[in-house]
Symmetry: C2
Subunit: 377 residues, 2 copies
């Protein structure tokens, strides 16, 4: 497993940061994506031109590497299964990827393992939504069971009158949940290797705006008992799906208890701060896991850390045109992915460490604010 | 200074780590070196084939970038001056580079700024060496004034009888110094930008074996007053040479006081631990400095950190064939440069952070020891 090559389907920022972690370990990274302007290719990863929906392209990638892993959720799981059946190592497995991207499957799994979830149904019928609302109260949240992210595929609905429009927009049955009074949103990042070694990162708290992650910080401001429980939940679910690689288990805290929100079976936005905050980042541990190398330590090496995402502004301008202001904030670690700017697109992030989460958040947010479009501020 | 390109003469590990720092900032790095197997090129830096001794090659590099900087000390300073005279930005300047690589010039500079140095002469005459020895006592250390590093170009001589052989080996006059009873060796890493902004890193202690750096750690185990004084010395010398970029001021501690050893006008082996230990590493700050961007914070974000170099063993085997053992030490950050193995060649390093230097050193050394050739251990 030395001089190994890891293939990644997708060449976005997750692949880029994984690539960078690989350079220091001498691990080669090959990425499959349509063109050579993607962040991972710009950073230096070997490029295989292709799309995740074509089996031949996946095969082309797999033939060049020791293991295939994922930067995003767009690879059809049946193709991942075919790759695996053809004798190629795929991590996560097709089944783990499938559970991860299906909100209903994730809830079934969670319930089977005693992990609390909010009341839910999956339905395509207005009448069932209406009765669910009558029992649990309006407004409700309707969600695509698959394919939603960053606030897409989630629709808050105030009354039965709003349901038909959402049903028209969505392609299949919807996951229906009550509106929760969220006290916190947290992310338990766990890594598991082929041989079953597992480490969990300290629980990360996230701040979501319009369904998209804006900030993440450690330590999460929830009681220690919940932090420990979240780690246990993540480990149990990782074991249950035979995880190989990194998974983020996103949880709500409501009424003082944890509820499963969703799984992301890959390195995750909430875990970017592990680059600065931990001895071994989620990206390096993802590589170690999929190559079955010993996993690195996940403890914090600093009392606290915080990350703020840098999003494209409504004017489509590049926030990094203002990078000088962001660099001028002492303690800010600026990460620019090198993507073309677009409104609400994640173009980078800023991380800071600190003596407590408040201090770290203040540094990260001040630096990120310097990048924010003037039109938006 | 956004979307900037930095040219580096040399493609070794310093250029590699500078390149990696650049990716996250969206700064492009182009390196001039003979072939594409050098560490920085393997990592993804754009490659300009050429050698530092040919002006046309330097010009080829300079034309592609906003500023030219150095990975090593092999570029003739007159060629750097010609580049600068031709209107290209060169950082450090030819003059700063010259002072940095000439041990006698560095001592003259230090003395002019009230920085203590050990008694020294530069001479090519046996008789002068003999009288110096009669005054200061044998053994003496004879050193090449330029071109020495990692123990090369330094000869301990026990008595006048040993001098002629050294004089025969060396190409020019020698720097002659008494043998000091060293209590510590320390490195004060300082960064200065074009506009004169300056930051100094916490003083780093180094452990040298046969003249080559084996370990570095922070905090240095010297009194706080000396730590502060070392930072002041570094800042004063940086100002004096009009430094642009990173410089390591290597100092001895003998009889409880600091003495200048040498200057390295570039990112330095002793500063590798700043990647893990500081908000902004020496490599990122070098890029910021040469592009005149605001400098980042140099404070420790962890109580302590330590680095151990990974050298090629006497058998010429690649220590990274044993990387699994190194990764199995929790908390170790393994850096592999991707160089061809050779005896005593620096092939990588391991960094660890910790609650104190003892803990950090223990982790880094255990991990590095797992890589050490069995023949050597």
């Amino acid at each position: 497993m030395v001089n190994a090559t890891v293939g990644i389907v997708g060449g976005g920022q997750l692949a880029q940061m994984t690539y960078l972690a690989g350079v220091s370990l001498g691990i080669d990274v090959v990425v499959l994506c349509p063109d050579g302007t993607e962040p991972a290719v710009r950073a230096g990863a070997t490029h295989v031109a292709g799309v995740p929906e074509r089996f031949d392209d996946l095969l082309d990638l797999a033939r060049r590497c020791d293991v295939v892993t994922l930067d995003h959720e767009r690879t059809p799981t049946d193709l991942l299964q075919r790759l695996s059946d053809a004798g190629y190592r795929v991590a996560p497995s097709a089944e783990a990827a499938r559970v991860g991207r299906d909100k209903a499957a994730a809830r079934v799994l969670a319930q089977a393992h005693g992990v609390p979830v909010a009341p839910w149904i999956v339905t395509g019928e207005l009448e069932q939504v209406t009765s669910f609302g009558a029992v649990h109260g309006w407004p409700l949240h309707l969600k695509s069971t698959t394919g939603g992210y960053d606030g897409r595929g989630v629709w808050p609905v105030r009354s039965p009158a709003g349901v038909p429009e959402v049903m028209g927009q969505s392609r299949g049955p919807l996951l229906v949940e009550p509106t929760l009074r969220l006290e916190h949103e947290v992310s338990a990042v766990v890594v598991r290797s082929w041989s079953g070694q597992m480490v969990t990162y300290p629980l990360i708290e996230t701040i979501q705006v319009d369904g998209a992650c804006r900030e993440a910080f450690v330590p999460a401001e929830v009681p220690q008992a919940l932090r420990a429980q979240a780690g246990d939940v993540a480990a149990e679910l990782a074991e249950a799906i035979g995880l190989v690689g990194v998974m983020a288990v996103e949880l709500f805290v409501a009424d003082g208890r944890l509820l499963l929100n969703e799984l992301a079976v890959r390195p995750h936005n909430s875990g970017h701060l592990t680059i600065e905050a931990c001895a071994t980042s989620q990206f390096e541990n993802h590589l170690r896991a999929v190559l079955d190398l010993p996993l690195g330590a996940s403890e914090l090496r600093t009392p606290a850390a915080a990350m703020a995402n840098v999003m494209g502004g409504p004017d489509g301008a590049d926030p990094f045109d203002r990078v000088v202001g962001a660099l001028a904030v002492p303690g800010a670690a600026v990460h620019r992915y090198g993507k073309a700017p677009a409104p609400n697109r994640k173009l980078g992030h800023v991380t800071a460490t600190g003596l407590d989460a408040h201090q770290a958040r203040s540094i990260a947010n001040r630096s990120a604010a310097a990048l924010a479009s003037r039109a938006a501020s």
